[in-house]
Protein backbone atom coordinates (compact mmCIF):
# COMPACT_ATOMS: atom_id res chain seq x y z
CA UNK A 1 0.00 0.00 0.00
CA UNK A 2 1.36 3.41 -0.86
CA UNK A 3 2.04 6.01 1.79
CA UNK A 4 -0.64 8.38 0.57
CA UNK A 5 -3.32 5.68 0.71
CA UNK A 6 -2.25 4.84 4.24
CA UNK A 7 -2.53 8.51 5.09
CA UNK A 8 -6.05 8.89 3.71
CA UNK A 9 -7.48 5.61 5.00
CA UNK A 10 -7.54 6.36 8.77
CA UNK A 11 -9.46 9.57 8.14
CA UNK A 12 -11.66 8.62 5.21
CA UNK A 13 -12.78 5.19 6.33
CA UNK A 14 -14.41 6.16 9.66
CA UNK A 15 -15.75 9.34 8.10
CA UNK A 16 -17.58 7.64 5.23
CA UNK A 17 -18.80 4.88 7.50
CA UNK A 18 -20.04 7.46 10.03
CA UNK A 19 -22.16 9.15 7.38
CA UNK A 20 -23.63 5.81 6.31
CA UNK A 21 -24.28 4.67 9.89
CA UNK A 22 -25.95 7.97 10.79
CA UNK A 23 -28.87 6.87 8.63
CA UNK A 24 -29.16 3.50 10.37
CA UNK A 25 -30.41 2.63 13.82
CA UNK A 26 -27.35 2.43 16.04
CA UNK A 27 -29.18 0.49 18.73
CA UNK A 28 -29.10 -2.62 16.57
CA UNK A 29 -26.09 -4.74 17.49
CA UNK A 30 -25.01 -5.33 13.88
CA UNK A 31 -24.74 -1.58 13.28
CA UNK A 32 -22.52 -1.31 16.35
CA UNK A 33 -20.34 -4.18 15.12
CA UNK A 34 -20.09 -2.61 11.67
CA UNK A 35 -18.79 0.55 13.34
CA UNK A 36 -16.34 -1.56 15.35
CA UNK A 37 -15.12 -3.26 12.16
CA UNK A 38 -14.61 0.06 10.40
CA UNK A 39 -12.78 1.57 13.33
CA UNK A 40 -10.70 -1.60 13.66
CA UNK A 41 -9.63 -1.31 10.01
CA UNK A 42 -8.82 2.34 10.64
CA UNK A 43 -6.68 1.35 13.64
CA UNK A 44 -4.82 -1.23 11.55
CA UNK A 45 -4.06 1.35 8.88
CA UNK A 46 -2.90 3.87 11.49
CA UNK A 47 -0.57 1.30 13.06
CA UNK A 48 0.82 0.41 9.63
CA UNK A 49 1.30 4.11 8.98
CA UNK A 50 3.18 4.46 12.26
CA UNK A 51 5.57 1.67 11.27
CA UNK A 52 6.06 3.22 7.85
CA UNK A 53 6.79 6.62 9.35
CA UNK A 54 9.22 5.14 11.85
CA UNK A 55 11.15 3.30 9.15
CA UNK A 56 11.06 5.75 6.26
CA UNK A 57 10.43 9.17 7.77
CA UNK A 58 7.39 11.44 7.38
CA UNK A 59 4.78 10.60 4.74
CA UNK A 60 3.26 13.52 2.88
CA UNK A 61 0.62 13.98 0.22
CA UNK A 62 -1.02 17.05 -1.27
CA UNK A 63 -4.70 17.07 -2.26
CA UNK A 64 -5.32 16.97 -5.98
CA UNK A 65 -1.61 16.51 -6.69
CA UNK A 66 -1.13 20.28 -6.55
CA UNK A 67 2.20 21.75 -5.50
CA UNK A 68 2.46 22.30 -1.73
CA UNK A 69 1.16 25.74 -0.82
CA UNK A 70 -1.66 25.50 -3.37
CA UNK A 71 -3.21 22.18 -2.33
CA UNK A 72 -3.85 21.18 1.24
CA UNK A 73 -1.07 19.09 2.77
CA UNK A 74 -1.71 15.84 4.62
CA UNK A 75 1.34 14.83 6.56
CA UNK A 76 2.17 12.10 9.05
CA UNK A 77 5.25 12.11 11.24
CA UNK A 78 6.02 10.00 14.30
CA UNK A 79 4.33 12.42 16.70
CA UNK A 80 1.06 12.61 14.77
CA UNK A 81 0.92 8.92 13.90
CA UNK A 82 1.55 7.89 17.52
CA UNK A 83 -1.20 10.13 18.84
CA UNK A 84 -3.55 8.93 16.09
CA UNK A 85 -2.84 5.28 16.91
CA UNK A 86 -3.38 5.75 20.64
CA UNK A 87 -6.54 7.82 20.23
CA UNK A 88 -8.15 5.52 17.69
CA UNK A 89 -7.22 2.56 19.91
CA UNK A 90 -8.87 4.12 22.96
CA UNK A 91 -11.98 5.03 20.97
CA UNK A 92 -12.18 1.51 19.56
CA UNK A 93 -12.01 -0.06 23.02
CA UNK A 94 -14.67 2.33 24.34
CA UNK A 95 -16.95 1.59 21.39
CA UNK A 96 -16.59 -2.18 21.82
CA UNK A 97 -17.33 -1.73 25.52
CA UNK A 98 -20.54 0.17 24.79
CA UNK A 99 -21.64 -2.38 22.18
CA UNK A 100 -21.16 -5.11 24.80
CA UNK A 101 -23.08 -3.18 27.43
CA UNK A 102 -25.79 -2.14 24.97
CA UNK A 103 -26.03 1.02 22.86
CA UNK A 104 -29.02 3.14 23.86
CA UNK A 105 -29.03 5.83 21.22
CA UNK A 106 -29.39 5.42 17.48
CA UNK A 107 -26.64 7.93 16.75
CA UNK A 108 -23.97 6.66 19.16
CA UNK A 109 -21.87 4.52 16.74
CA UNK A 110 -21.99 7.20 14.04
CA UNK A 111 -20.93 9.94 16.47
CA UNK A 112 -18.04 7.86 17.76
CA UNK A 113 -16.86 7.33 14.18
CA UNK A 114 -17.17 11.05 13.41
CA UNK A 115 -15.05 11.75 16.47
CA UNK A 116 -12.44 9.19 15.39
CA UNK A 117 -12.34 10.61 11.86
CA UNK A 118 -11.87 14.14 13.17
CA UNK A 119 -9.13 13.08 15.56
CA UNK A 120 -7.11 11.11 13.01
CA UNK A 121 -7.59 13.96 10.58
CA UNK A 122 -6.13 16.54 12.90
CA UNK A 123 -3.18 14.36 13.86
CA UNK A 124 -2.41 13.63 10.21
CA UNK A 125 -2.67 17.08 8.66
CA UNK A 126 0.11 19.44 7.74
CA UNK A 127 -2.11 22.46 7.46
CA UNK A 128 -3.02 24.76 10.31
CA UNK A 129 -6.52 25.53 9.12
CA UNK A 130 -7.28 21.92 8.31
CA UNK A 131 -6.19 21.17 11.85
CA UNK A 132 -8.89 23.54 13.05
CA UNK A 133 -11.53 22.01 10.80
CA UNK A 134 -10.88 18.45 11.93
CA UNK A 135 -10.66 19.67 15.49
CA UNK A 136 -14.19 21.09 15.15
CA UNK A 137 -15.45 17.86 13.56
CA UNK A 138 -14.31 15.85 16.55
CA UNK A 139 -15.37 18.46 19.12
CA UNK A 140 -18.89 18.71 17.68
CA UNK A 141 -19.27 14.95 17.89
CA UNK A 142 -17.93 15.10 21.45
CA UNK A 143 -20.48 17.73 22.53
CA UNK A 144 -23.32 15.45 21.51
CA UNK A 145 -21.65 12.35 22.95
CA UNK A 146 -21.31 14.03 26.34
CA UNK A 147 -25.08 14.23 26.54
CA UNK A 148 -25.37 10.51 25.67
CA UNK A 149 -28.05 8.72 27.76
CA UNK A 150 -29.77 12.09 28.10
CA UNK A 151 -30.03 12.32 31.86
CA UNK A 152 -30.50 15.90 33.10
CA UNK A 153 -27.01 16.15 34.54
CA UNK A 154 -25.50 14.76 31.35
CA UNK A 155 -27.21 17.32 29.14
CA UNK A 156 -26.15 20.02 31.60
CA UNK A 157 -22.57 18.74 31.41
CA UNK A 158 -22.73 18.68 27.61
CA UNK A 159 -23.95 22.28 27.58
CA UNK A 160 -21.09 23.48 29.79
CA UNK A 161 -18.63 21.45 27.74
CA UNK A 162 -19.89 22.93 24.47
CA UNK A 163 -19.90 26.54 25.70
CA UNK A 164 -16.42 26.45 27.25
CA UNK A 165 -14.86 24.60 24.35
CA UNK A 166 -16.47 26.80 21.72
CA UNK A 167 -14.84 29.68 23.55
CA UNK A 168 -11.53 27.82 23.26
CA UNK A 169 -12.16 27.17 19.56
CA UNK A 170 -12.81 30.84 18.91
CA UNK A 171 -9.57 31.80 20.63
CA UNK A 172 -7.75 29.19 18.56
CA UNK A 173 -9.36 30.42 15.33
CA UNK A 174 -8.30 33.98 16.13
CA UNK A 175 -4.75 32.72 16.73
CA UNK A 176 -4.75 30.91 13.37
CA UNK A 177 -6.00 34.02 11.60
CA UNK A 178 -3.25 36.02 13.27
CA UNK A 179 -0.65 33.42 12.35
CA UNK A 180 -1.81 33.56 8.74
CA UNK A 181 -1.70 37.33 8.86
CA UNK A 182 1.92 37.44 9.95
CA UNK A 183 3.26 34.54 7.87
CA UNK A 184 1.00 34.52 4.81
CA UNK A 185 0.64 30.74 4.77
CA UNK A 186 -1.30 28.00 6.51
CA UNK A 187 1.06 25.13 5.83
CA UNK A 188 2.71 24.09 9.10
CA UNK A 189 6.23 23.57 7.74
CA UNK A 190 6.27 26.95 5.98
CA UNK A 191 4.76 28.68 9.00
CA UNK A 192 7.54 27.23 11.16
CA UNK A 193 10.13 28.64 8.76
CA UNK A 194 8.62 32.07 8.34
CA UNK A 195 7.87 32.81 12.00
CA UNK A 196 11.58 33.37 12.60
CA UNK A 197 11.44 36.63 10.67
CA UNK A 198 8.26 37.86 12.32
CA UNK A 199 8.15 40.56 14.98
CA UNK A 200 8.40 38.65 18.30
CA UNK A 201 5.84 40.90 19.99
CA UNK A 202 2.98 39.72 17.80
CA UNK A 203 4.21 36.14 17.95
CA UNK A 204 4.10 36.07 21.75
CA UNK A 205 0.46 37.14 21.66
CA UNK A 206 -0.35 34.43 19.13
CA UNK A 207 1.57 31.79 21.10
CA UNK A 208 -0.29 32.77 24.28
CA UNK A 209 -3.66 32.52 22.54
CA UNK A 210 -2.79 29.06 21.21
CA UNK A 211 -1.56 27.99 24.63
CA UNK A 212 -4.78 29.19 26.29
CA UNK A 213 -6.92 27.44 23.67
CA UNK A 214 -5.24 24.07 24.16
CA UNK A 215 -5.11 24.47 27.92
CA UNK A 216 -8.87 24.93 27.89
CA UNK A 217 -9.24 21.67 25.97
CA UNK A 218 -6.89 19.88 28.32
CA UNK A 219 -8.39 21.30 31.50
CA UNK A 220 -5.12 22.63 32.79
CA UNK A 221 -5.16 24.28 36.22
CA UNK A 222 -6.48 27.81 35.75
CA UNK A 223 -8.70 26.62 32.86
CA UNK A 224 -9.98 23.45 34.49
CA UNK A 225 -13.32 24.71 35.88
CA UNK A 226 -15.48 22.91 33.31
CA UNK A 227 -13.80 19.54 33.49
CA UNK A 228 -15.14 17.88 36.67
CA UNK A 229 -18.81 18.60 35.83
CA UNK A 230 -18.44 17.09 32.38
CA UNK A 231 -16.43 14.00 33.32
CA UNK A 232 -18.49 13.13 36.37
CA UNK A 233 -21.77 13.20 34.45
CA UNK A 234 -20.58 11.33 31.38
CA UNK A 235 -21.35 7.69 30.77
CA UNK A 236 -18.21 5.53 31.35
CA UNK A 237 -17.12 4.94 27.71
CA UNK A 238 -17.81 8.58 26.86
CA UNK A 239 -15.64 9.72 29.77
CA UNK A 240 -12.95 7.29 28.58
CA UNK A 241 -13.14 8.75 25.06
CA UNK A 242 -13.04 12.33 26.37
CA UNK A 243 -10.07 11.85 28.62
CA UNK A 244 -8.24 9.08 26.73
CA UNK A 245 -8.62 10.34 23.17
CA UNK A 246 -10.06 13.84 22.93
CA UNK A 247 -7.67 15.30 25.50
CA UNK A 248 -4.87 14.26 23.15
CA UNK A 249 -5.85 17.23 20.98
CA UNK A 250 -4.46 19.44 23.71
CA UNK A 251 -1.34 17.30 24.23
CA UNK A 252 -0.64 17.05 20.52
CA UNK A 253 -1.45 20.70 19.92
CA UNK A 254 0.93 21.88 22.63
CA UNK A 255 3.70 19.64 21.30
CA UNK A 256 3.10 20.52 17.66
CA UNK A 257 2.65 24.25 18.09
CA UNK A 258 4.98 24.65 21.07
CA UNK A 259 7.71 22.21 20.12
CA UNK A 260 7.66 22.64 16.37
CA UNK A 261 6.04 25.76 14.99
CA UNK A 262 6.55 28.27 17.80
CA UNK A 263 9.55 26.67 19.50
CA UNK A 264 11.29 29.95 20.33
CA UNK A 265 8.18 31.33 21.99
CA UNK A 266 7.89 28.14 24.04
CA UNK A 267 11.49 28.53 25.21
CA UNK A 268 10.70 32.13 26.14
CA UNK A 269 7.62 31.18 28.13
CA UNK A 270 9.14 28.02 29.64
CA UNK A 271 9.00 29.36 33.20
CA UNK A 272 5.29 30.17 32.95
CA UNK A 273 4.63 26.74 31.46
CA UNK A 274 6.57 25.05 34.27
CA UNK A 275 4.75 27.03 36.97
CA UNK A 276 1.31 26.29 35.49
CA UNK A 277 2.21 22.62 35.10
CA UNK A 278 3.37 22.38 38.71
CA UNK A 279 0.26 24.17 39.95
CA UNK A 280 -1.87 21.74 37.95
CA UNK A 281 -0.12 18.71 39.44
CA UNK A 282 -0.55 19.88 43.04
CA UNK A 283 -4.04 21.29 42.64
CA UNK A 284 -5.40 18.25 40.79
CA UNK A 285 -3.92 15.80 43.27
CA UNK A 286 -5.16 17.69 46.36
CA UNK A 287 -8.67 18.07 44.92
CA UNK A 288 -8.71 14.40 43.94
CA UNK A 289 -7.87 13.39 47.49
CA UNK A 290 -10.74 15.43 48.90
CA UNK A 291 -13.42 13.88 46.64
CA UNK A 292 -15.45 10.74 47.22
CA UNK A 293 -17.03 9.65 43.91
CA UNK A 294 -14.60 7.56 41.81
CA UNK A 295 -15.43 9.46 38.62
CA UNK A 296 -14.93 12.78 40.39
CA UNK A 297 -11.57 11.69 41.77
CA UNK A 298 -10.54 10.59 38.27
CA UNK A 299 -11.68 13.90 36.81
CA UNK A 300 -9.48 15.87 39.19
CA UNK A 301 -6.67 13.41 38.71
CA UNK A 302 -6.86 14.21 34.98
CA UNK A 303 -6.16 17.85 35.80
CA UNK A 304 -3.12 16.73 37.77
CA UNK A 305 -1.85 14.34 35.12
CA UNK A 306 -1.80 16.92 32.32
CA UNK A 307 0.46 18.94 34.59
CA UNK A 308 3.22 16.37 34.04
CA UNK A 309 2.91 16.72 30.27
CA UNK A 310 3.17 20.47 30.64
CA UNK A 311 6.20 20.26 32.93
CA UNK A 312 7.96 17.97 30.44
CA UNK A 313 7.06 20.40 27.65
CA UNK A 314 8.42 23.32 29.65
CA UNK A 315 11.73 21.52 30.17
CA UNK A 316 11.96 21.02 26.42
CA UNK A 317 14.78 19.44 24.46
CA UNK A 318 14.78 15.84 23.26
CA UNK A 319 14.37 14.52 26.81
CA UNK A 320 11.48 16.85 27.62
CA UNK A 321 9.52 16.39 24.40
CA UNK A 322 9.90 12.62 24.38
CA UNK A 323 8.82 12.55 28.05
CA UNK A 324 5.77 14.68 27.18
CA UNK A 325 4.77 12.29 24.38
CA UNK A 326 5.36 9.16 26.46
CA UNK A 327 3.47 10.59 29.41
CA UNK A 328 0.55 11.65 27.22
CA UNK A 329 0.29 8.15 25.70
CA UNK A 330 0.56 6.47 29.10
CA UNK A 331 -2.01 8.81 30.59
CA UNK A 332 -4.44 8.10 27.74
CA UNK A 333 -4.25 4.38 28.40
CA UNK A 334 -4.53 4.79 32.17
CA UNK A 335 -7.52 7.06 31.99
CA UNK A 336 -9.31 4.92 29.41
CA UNK A 337 -8.82 1.86 31.60
CA UNK A 338 -9.85 3.56 34.84
CA UNK A 339 -12.94 5.30 33.46
CA UNK A 340 -14.14 2.12 31.76
CA UNK A 341 -13.59 0.05 34.89
CA UNK A 342 -15.37 2.62 37.05
CA UNK A 343 -18.62 1.77 35.23
CA UNK A 344 -18.44 -1.99 35.84
CA UNK A 345 -19.07 -4.44 38.65
CA UNK A 346 -18.25 -8.14 39.06
CA UNK A 347 -15.30 -10.54 39.25
CA UNK A 348 -11.92 -9.34 37.88
CA UNK A 349 -13.09 -5.73 37.72
CA UNK A 350 -11.25 -4.81 40.91
CA UNK A 351 -8.09 -6.46 39.57
CA UNK A 352 -8.28 -4.43 36.37
CA UNK A 353 -8.84 -1.29 38.42
CA UNK A 354 -5.84 -2.11 40.59
CA UNK A 355 -3.63 -2.37 37.49
CA UNK A 356 -4.91 1.01 36.32
CA UNK A 357 -4.41 2.55 39.74
CA UNK A 358 -0.84 1.24 39.98
CA UNK A 359 -0.17 2.57 36.52
CA UNK A 360 -1.55 5.96 37.57
CA UNK A 361 0.78 6.00 40.58
CA UNK A 362 3.74 4.82 38.51
CA UNK A 363 4.43 1.51 40.19
CA UNK A 364 6.91 -0.61 38.18
CA UNK A 365 5.23 -3.42 36.26
CA UNK A 366 2.61 -1.06 34.84
CA UNK A 367 3.29 1.32 31.98
CA UNK A 368 2.75 4.33 34.23
CA UNK A 369 6.21 3.69 35.62
CA UNK A 370 7.74 4.31 32.19
CA UNK A 371 5.93 7.63 31.96
CA UNK A 372 6.99 8.73 35.43
CA UNK A 373 10.60 7.72 34.78
CA UNK A 374 10.63 9.69 31.53
CA UNK A 375 9.37 12.83 33.29
CA UNK A 376 11.83 12.20 36.11
CA UNK A 377 14.72 12.05 33.64
CA UNK A 378 13.48 15.23 32.02
CA UNK A 379 13.34 16.87 35.45
CA UNK A 380 16.96 15.92 36.13
CA UNK A 381 18.00 17.36 32.77
CA UNK A 382 16.35 20.70 33.50
CA UNK A 383 18.50 23.82 33.80
CA UNK A 384 20.41 24.35 37.04
CA UNK A 385 20.68 22.23 40.18
CA UNK A 386 18.00 24.16 42.06
CA UNK A 387 15.48 23.90 39.24
CA UNK A 388 16.16 20.19 38.77
CA UNK A 389 15.83 19.51 42.50
CA UNK A 390 12.56 21.44 42.69
CA UNK A 391 11.08 19.63 39.70
CA UNK A 392 12.11 16.19 40.91
CA UNK A 393 10.68 16.97 44.35
CA UNK A 394 7.45 18.13 42.70
CA UNK A 395 7.13 14.99 40.57
CA UNK A 396 7.81 12.88 43.65
CA UNK A 397 5.18 14.76 45.66
CA UNK A 398 2.64 14.46 42.86
CA UNK A 399 3.20 10.70 42.65
CA UNK A 400 2.90 10.32 46.40
CA UNK A 401 -0.41 12.18 46.36
CA UNK A 402 -1.67 10.04 43.48
CA UNK A 403 -0.89 7.02 45.68
CA UNK A 404 -3.29 8.37 48.28
CA UNK A 405 -6.22 9.09 46.00
CA UNK A 406 -5.88 5.99 43.82
CA UNK A 407 -5.92 3.76 46.89
CA UNK A 408 -8.80 5.78 48.33
CA UNK A 409 -10.97 5.06 45.30
CA UNK A 410 -9.99 1.41 45.42
CA UNK A 411 -10.95 1.21 49.05
CA UNK A 412 -14.28 2.98 48.63
CA UNK A 413 -15.31 1.27 45.43
CA UNK A 414 -14.11 -2.27 45.94
CA UNK A 415 -13.32 -2.92 49.60
CA UNK A 416 -16.10 -1.10 51.44
CA UNK A 417 -19.35 -2.96 52.08
CA UNK A 418 -21.89 -1.91 49.48
CA UNK A 419 -25.45 -0.96 50.33
CA UNK A 420 -27.81 -3.79 49.39
CA UNK A 421 -30.21 -3.37 46.49
CA UNK A 422 -28.19 -0.52 45.08
CA UNK A 423 -27.16 0.19 41.53
CA UNK A 424 -23.99 -1.80 41.96
CA UNK A 425 -25.56 -5.15 42.77
CA UNK A 426 -25.90 -6.09 39.12
CA UNK A 427 -22.89 -7.87 37.66
CA UNK A 428 -21.81 -6.38 34.35
CA UNK A 429 -21.65 -8.54 31.19
CA UNK A 430 -18.59 -10.78 31.16
CA UNK A 431 -17.63 -9.55 27.70
CA UNK A 432 -17.19 -5.98 28.94
CA UNK A 433 -15.22 -7.26 31.90
CA UNK A 434 -12.98 -9.35 29.63
CA UNK A 435 -12.38 -6.22 27.56
CA UNK A 436 -11.14 -4.16 30.51
CA UNK A 437 -9.01 -7.07 31.69
CA UNK A 438 -7.44 -7.19 28.22
CA UNK A 439 -6.81 -3.45 28.37
CA UNK A 440 -5.23 -3.90 31.81
CA UNK A 441 -3.04 -6.66 30.36
CA UNK A 442 -1.96 -4.25 27.62
CA UNK A 443 -1.03 -1.66 30.25
CA UNK A 444 1.10 -4.28 32.01
CA UNK A 445 2.63 -5.60 28.79
CA UNK A 446 3.67 -2.13 27.65
CA UNK A 447 5.26 -1.61 31.06
CA UNK A 448 7.20 -4.86 30.78
CA UNK A 449 8.28 -4.19 27.20
CA UNK A 450 8.60 -0.42 26.97
CA UNK A 451 11.04 -0.25 24.01
CA UNK A 452 8.42 0.56 21.32
CA UNK A 453 7.04 3.46 23.36
CA UNK A 454 10.50 4.79 24.16
CA UNK A 455 11.57 4.58 20.51
CA UNK A 456 8.44 6.47 19.44
CA UNK A 457 9.08 9.16 22.05
CA UNK A 458 12.73 9.51 21.03
CA UNK A 459 11.97 9.68 17.29
CA UNK A 460 9.11 12.15 17.70
CA UNK A 461 11.21 14.46 19.87
CA UNK A 462 14.14 14.34 17.45
CA UNK A 463 11.80 15.17 14.55
CA UNK A 464 10.29 18.07 16.45
CA UNK A 465 13.64 19.55 17.30
CA UNK A 466 14.99 19.11 13.77
CA UNK A 467 12.05 20.87 12.19
CA UNK A 468 11.52 23.41 14.95
CA UNK A 469 15.11 24.49 15.41
CA UNK A 470 15.77 25.72 18.92
CA UNK A 471 16.06 23.17 21.76
Amino acid sequence: MTGSTLLVLPVGLPWALAVALALLNGRRPWVGWLAVAGLGASLVSVVMLTFRVLREGPVETVTGGWPAGVGIVLRADVLGATFAAVSVGVILVSLVYEVFVGVRSRTFPALVLFLAAGLSGLFLTGDVFNFYVFFEVSMTAAYILTGYREQDYQVRGAFIFAVVNLLGSVIFLIAIAALYHVTGTLEMATVAERVREVNPNSLITIATAIFVAFSLKLGLFPFHFWLPVVYVGSHAPVAAILSGALANIGNYGLLRFGGDILSEELALGATAVLVLGSASIIYGALQAISRREPSEVLAYSTIGQVGYVLVALGIGGTVGFSAALIYAVVNSLNKALLFLVAGLRGPFVAAAFAVGAFSLMGVPPAVGFIGKIAVFKAGLAAGGVIQATLLVALIFLGSALSFVYALQIYQRAFLAKEPQGGLWDKTSPWTARALVVALAALVLAMGLWPEPLLVLGEEAATNLIESGGSP
Partner: protein, 164 residues
Protein backbone atom coordinates in the same frame (compact mmCIF):
# COMPACT_ATOMS: atom_id res chain seq x y z
CA UNK B 1 -48.17 36.90 9.53
CA UNK B 2 -49.98 39.41 7.32
CA UNK B 3 -50.86 39.20 3.63
CA UNK B 4 -47.92 41.26 2.42
CA UNK B 5 -45.14 39.09 3.86
CA UNK B 6 -46.92 35.95 2.67
CA UNK B 7 -47.26 37.24 -0.86
CA UNK B 8 -43.66 38.38 -0.96
CA UNK B 9 -42.47 35.07 0.46
CA UNK B 10 -44.46 33.13 -2.12
CA UNK B 11 -43.13 35.29 -4.94
CA UNK B 12 -39.56 34.98 -3.74
CA UNK B 13 -39.49 31.23 -3.31
CA UNK B 14 -38.76 30.07 -6.87
CA UNK B 15 -36.40 32.96 -7.75
CA UNK B 16 -34.35 32.14 -4.64
CA UNK B 17 -33.93 28.53 -5.72
CA UNK B 18 -33.05 29.57 -9.26
CA UNK B 19 -30.51 32.07 -7.92
CA UNK B 20 -29.04 29.30 -5.77
CA UNK B 21 -28.60 26.99 -8.74
CA UNK B 22 -27.07 29.86 -10.71
CA UNK B 23 -24.56 30.49 -7.93
CA UNK B 24 -23.81 26.78 -7.81
CA UNK B 25 -23.02 26.39 -11.50
CA UNK B 26 -21.27 29.67 -12.15
CA UNK B 27 -18.49 29.00 -9.64
CA UNK B 28 -15.03 27.98 -10.93
CA UNK B 29 -14.60 30.91 -13.31
CA UNK B 30 -16.58 33.46 -11.30
CA UNK B 31 -17.46 33.81 -7.64
CA UNK B 32 -19.92 31.26 -6.35
CA UNK B 33 -19.81 27.72 -5.00
CA UNK B 34 -21.87 25.03 -3.34
CA UNK B 35 -21.64 26.59 0.10
CA UNK B 36 -23.10 29.99 -0.78
CA UNK B 37 -25.68 28.36 -3.03
CA UNK B 38 -26.75 26.18 -0.12
CA UNK B 39 -27.01 29.19 2.16
CA UNK B 40 -29.15 31.12 -0.35
CA UNK B 41 -31.46 28.18 -0.99
CA UNK B 42 -31.95 27.48 2.69
CA UNK B 43 -32.66 31.16 3.38
CA UNK B 44 -35.47 30.91 0.84
CA UNK B 45 -36.80 27.89 2.68
CA UNK B 46 -36.52 29.55 6.10
CA UNK B 47 -38.56 32.46 4.70
CA UNK B 48 -41.38 30.03 3.85
CA UNK B 49 -41.29 28.67 7.40
CA UNK B 50 -41.48 32.17 8.84
CA UNK B 51 -44.29 33.32 6.56
CA UNK B 52 -46.51 30.25 6.44
CA UNK B 53 -45.65 28.26 9.53
CA UNK B 54 -44.63 24.67 9.78
CA UNK B 55 -47.67 22.93 8.37
CA UNK B 56 -47.72 24.88 5.12
CA UNK B 57 -43.97 24.78 4.65
CA UNK B 58 -43.83 21.03 5.11
CA UNK B 59 -45.92 20.66 1.96
CA UNK B 60 -43.23 22.24 -0.23
CA UNK B 61 -41.09 19.92 -2.33
CA UNK B 62 -37.55 19.06 -1.07
CA UNK B 63 -38.36 19.70 2.59
CA UNK B 64 -38.97 16.08 3.51
CA UNK B 65 -35.71 15.15 1.85
CA UNK B 66 -33.64 17.80 3.64
CA UNK B 67 -32.33 15.79 6.61
CA UNK B 68 -31.23 12.89 4.45
CA UNK B 69 -29.90 15.28 1.82
CA UNK B 70 -27.23 16.43 4.24
CA UNK B 71 -25.87 12.90 4.55
CA UNK B 72 -26.12 12.22 0.83
CA UNK B 73 -24.21 15.45 0.21
CA UNK B 74 -21.48 14.55 2.67
CA UNK B 75 -21.18 11.10 1.08
CA UNK B 76 -20.88 12.63 -2.40
CA UNK B 77 -18.14 14.94 -1.13
CA UNK B 78 -16.25 12.08 0.50
CA UNK B 79 -16.60 9.95 -2.63
CA UNK B 80 -15.12 12.69 -4.80
CA UNK B 81 -12.21 12.77 -2.38
CA UNK B 82 -11.81 9.01 -2.05
CA UNK B 83 -12.33 7.63 -5.57
CA UNK B 84 -9.06 9.12 -6.90
CA UNK B 85 -7.20 7.38 -4.04
CA UNK B 86 -8.71 4.07 -5.11
CA UNK B 87 -7.54 4.80 -8.68
CA UNK B 88 -4.01 5.51 -7.46
CA UNK B 89 -4.11 9.31 -7.73
CA UNK B 90 -3.78 11.87 -4.91
CA UNK B 91 -6.82 12.69 -2.77
CA UNK B 92 -9.27 15.11 -4.42
CA UNK B 93 -7.63 14.67 -7.81
CA UNK B 94 -10.05 16.02 -10.39
CA UNK B 95 -11.13 14.43 -13.67
CA UNK B 96 -10.67 15.19 -16.50
CA UNK B 97 -7.13 16.28 -15.65
CA UNK B 98 -5.52 19.59 -16.65
CA UNK B 99 -5.42 20.07 -20.40
CA UNK B 100 -7.77 17.18 -21.14
CA UNK B 101 -10.98 17.57 -23.13
CA UNK B 102 -13.92 18.87 -21.07
CA UNK B 103 -17.59 18.41 -21.99
CA UNK B 104 -19.59 21.63 -21.74
CA UNK B 105 -23.28 21.89 -20.87
CA UNK B 106 -24.04 25.47 -21.77
CA UNK B 107 -21.42 27.33 -19.74
CA UNK B 108 -21.14 24.54 -17.19
CA UNK B 109 -18.02 22.42 -17.35
CA UNK B 110 -18.67 18.80 -16.48
CA UNK B 111 -15.76 18.10 -14.11
CA UNK B 112 -15.66 16.27 -10.78
CA UNK B 113 -15.28 19.48 -8.68
CA UNK B 114 -18.83 20.36 -9.79
CA UNK B 115 -19.99 17.10 -8.25
CA UNK B 116 -18.14 18.00 -5.06
CA UNK B 117 -19.88 21.37 -4.94
CA UNK B 118 -23.25 19.71 -5.47
CA UNK B 119 -22.36 17.59 -2.42
CA UNK B 120 -21.50 20.71 -0.43
CA UNK B 121 -24.75 22.33 -1.56
CA UNK B 122 -26.80 19.35 -0.40
CA UNK B 123 -24.93 19.26 2.91
CA UNK B 124 -25.46 22.95 3.68
CA UNK B 125 -29.05 23.02 2.45
CA UNK B 126 -29.93 19.77 4.17
CA UNK B 127 -28.37 20.80 7.44
CA UNK B 128 -29.97 24.25 7.53
CA UNK B 129 -33.46 23.14 6.52
CA UNK B 130 -33.23 19.99 8.62
CA UNK B 131 -32.40 21.96 11.76
CA UNK B 132 -35.08 24.59 11.08
CA UNK B 133 -37.53 21.73 10.69
CA UNK B 134 -36.43 20.09 13.91
CA UNK B 135 -36.78 23.36 15.82
CA UNK B 136 -40.19 24.06 14.26
CA UNK B 137 -41.38 20.56 15.18
CA UNK B 138 -40.26 21.02 18.77
CA UNK B 139 -42.07 24.34 19.08
CA UNK B 140 -45.29 22.88 17.67
CA UNK B 141 -45.08 19.86 19.92
CA UNK B 142 -44.63 22.06 22.98
CA UNK B 143 -47.63 24.12 21.94
CA UNK B 144 -49.80 21.06 21.51
CA UNK B 145 -48.65 19.88 24.88
CA UNK B 146 -49.62 23.18 26.49
CA UNK B 147 -53.15 22.96 25.07
CA UNK B 148 -55.64 25.62 23.94
CA UNK B 149 -55.37 27.70 27.13
CA UNK B 150 -51.68 28.37 26.51
CA UNK B 151 -52.32 32.11 26.18
CA UNK B 152 -53.32 32.37 29.82
CA UNK B 153 -50.01 30.81 30.76
CA UNK B 154 -48.13 33.61 29.01
CA UNK B 155 -47.05 32.12 25.69
CA UNK B 156 -45.29 34.55 23.39
CA UNK B 157 -46.81 36.18 20.31
CA UNK B 158 -44.73 33.99 18.06
CA UNK B 159 -46.65 30.92 19.10
CA UNK B 160 -49.98 32.70 18.61
CA UNK B 161 -49.18 33.67 15.07
CA UNK B 162 -48.31 30.16 14.19
CA UNK B 163 -51.51 28.62 15.49
CA UNK B 164 -53.73 31.03 13.61
Amino acid sequence: MGVMPRTVAKLLFLPTLVAAVAILVKGYAQTGDGFSAGVVASLGMVLQYLAFGRREAEKLPLVGFAGRGAFVGLLIGLLVAAVPVALGDPVFNHYPGPGAHVVYLGTLELITPVLFDVGVFLLVFGFAVGSVRAIANTITREEEYRGPDADDLGVEDLAKGERR
